[in-house]
């Protein structure tokens, strides 16, 4: 088991290195695109900034609190994107039949799909998320202590799992339809976009859905309450880790999709 994992990590590293070497063939283009990616995501930040120039708070959350919330979610998303956004190109892999080539190799399909294309220019967005995160943390009026730091780390782990699970679901759905995938954007990009505000802003029902169905609230709202001293119950520190379970149904759907692909051959 351990050996297998080590071997998989090694192969992943090999894929990464071959992707880097490919990207470096077009250095200028690579850096310009990465720069573009870096600049893009400031849009959302500017939106928040200008709204708070006009308003002093949203449902009891101040500007610096919203900023912390936004920057943590952004980093969760970017981390997941680095690892799992290879699924972005999955529709074209299915359409052109390159997924067949994945299936004729004796390795885990997910590993191969992720490895086949790293969108390395996303490093620009990643950097932007890191900058935002540093800004958000330093601007927050939070008294940081060990428990709160751990809470943030757990949020990043759990959030990365939730978003990765969603990317996996997106890819799994490609086996059934290549057209109707746009609504998945609500769950991925939409969650990043609207996750900038604490989920309670969207009402009780939304909080319920994001607690039990797609566990965004576990990696955003509840731990945030703990960090901002709005709720001091210590179990909230570990709530984000529960969200990792989301990977189980996501993976099951993927397996189901692969089996469907093998019987329909589409």
């Amino acid at each position: 088991m351990f050996y297998k994992l080590k071997d998989a990590v090694r192969l992943y590293g090999h894929y990464l290195s071959i992707n880097v070497r490919s990207a470096m063939q077009y250095k200028t283009s690579f850096f310009l695109t990465a720069l573009g990616q870096f600049l893009v995501s400031f849009n959302v930040f500017l939106g928040i900034y200008f709204m708070f120039r006009r308003f002093s708070g949203i449902q009891g959350f101040t500007y610096s609190e919203v900023l912390l919330c936004f920057s943590v979610v952004l980093l969760e998303f970017s981390l997941a994107e680095m690892f799992a956004r290879g699924f972005d190109l999955f529709p074209s892999m299915v359409r052109t039949g390159s997924f067949d080539q994945v299936l004729v190799r004796p390795r885990n399909e997910i590993l191969q799909v992720l490895g086949s294309k790293f969108e390395l220019t996303r490093i620009g967005r990643m950097l932007q998320a890191v900058v935002m995160f540093a800004y958000g943390v330093s601007h927050s009026s939070v008294d940081w202590n060990f428990a709160k730091i751990m809470t943030v780390i757990f949020m990043l782990i759990g959030g990365c799992a939730v978003f990765s699970g969603l990317f996996l679901i997106y890819a799994a759905l490609c086996f059934f339809t290549l057209e109707g995938l746009e609504f998945m954007n609500v769950l991925t990009d939409g969650a990043r976009e609207y996750g900038k505000y604490p989920l309670s802003v969207y009402g009780k029902k939304m909080l319920l859905v994001t607690t039990f169905l797609i566990p965004y609230a576990l990696v955003q709202y509840y731990p945030l309450l703990y960090i901002l001293d709005k709720d001091s119950r210590p179990f909230l520190i570990f709530v984000p880790l529960l969200a990792v379970w989301f990977l189980v149904p996501s993976y099951a759907l993927w397996r189901f999709g692969v089996r469907h692909y093998q019987s329909s051959g589409s």
Partner: protein, 263 residues
């Protein structure tokens, strides 16, 4: 040994008609069509055989290759390859086969060929010594020495195909599937590829299944031919069984297609 017995496979596809009105209608109502890609296909291929699998486009060639390589599950019938059921035991199965899809590349476009080979070494977990020996032999036979260090995008189609074939043999598979390996190649490369395939089959006893539209491939390579049309096996025999008199093989095959009413 490869056996297929009474294998059937059909697909359902959406019909699309041309025109503005039709496109609008299709918004609300869509018609489907069932295509029988394979109906009751049976054959046996022994170890070390070289078989040419021919037929017009859409006859069922690639469905067969997909089933044999474990990518596709048939609707009914039984398939075994060396005792394995390819689509049930895919991971174990694909270790023992090599596949070249002529129209697609398994090489990385922007990096030297050798980098792709090394990645494949890790993917198949090929032992060091085996990898070295195979690489040396393939380099020699396919004349790759000059090519290994150049990025794939700089290679000609013929050079690329030689590399593709080498890539699919690095892990010493017992069975090799070649899907139109000579498509679009110049005369020199075609001959080089054919000679290599022949040698691979003779020396390593690799079972080769080859689909092609190029009848010269068939003449040069395979003693046995399976002709498929509209999902059925029409003929399973030797080149001599097909040939009639002095007519060239292209004419003979075209004649056969007409006789069976397939295009």
């Amino acid at each position: 040994m490869i056996t297929m017995e009474h294998v059937c496979k059909s697909y359902k596809i959406a019909k699309r008609n041309a025109g503005f009105g039709e496109a609008f209608k299709a918004l609300f109502h869509r018609e489907y069509e069932v295509i029988h890609a394979l109906s009751d296909v049976s054959f046996t291929i022994h170890d070390g055989e070289m078989v040419g699998y021919i037929g017009p486009n859409g006859a069922g060639k690639s469905s067969t290759i997909k089933i044999l390589s474990g990518i596709l599950t048939p609707d009914s019938g039984t398939v075994t390859v060396d005792g394995r059921i390819p689509y049930k035991d895919r991971m174990r199965h694909v270790k023992e086969i090599g596949v070249v899809f002529g129209q697609r590349s398994q090489l990385w476009w922007d990096v030297p060929v050798i980098d792709s080979f090394e990645l494949l070494r890790d993917i198949y977990a090929i032992p060091k010594e085996t990898y070295h020996n195979n690489l040396e032999e393939l380099t020699e036979l396919l004349n790759l020495k000059e090519l290994l260090r150049s990025p794939v995008r700089q290679l000609s189609l013929g050079q690329r195909m030689r590399c593709e074939i080498a890539a699919s043999l690095l892990h010493s598979p017992k069975i090799l599937f070649l899907d139109e390996p000579t498509i679009g190649l110049d005369a020199v490369s075609k001959i080089a590829v054919r000679e290599f395939i022949q040698k691979q089959n003779e020396v390593h006893k690799t079972t080769v299944i080859l689909t092609t539209h190029d009848m010269q491939d068939i003449e040069a390579l395979s003693k046995r031919i399976i002709l498929i049309g509209k999902g059925r096996i029409l003929l399973d025999g030797t080149l001599e069984d097909i040939k009639r008199g002095d007519a060239g093989i292209d004419e003979t095959v075209a004649e056969l297609y007409r006789a069976y009413d397939i295009e």
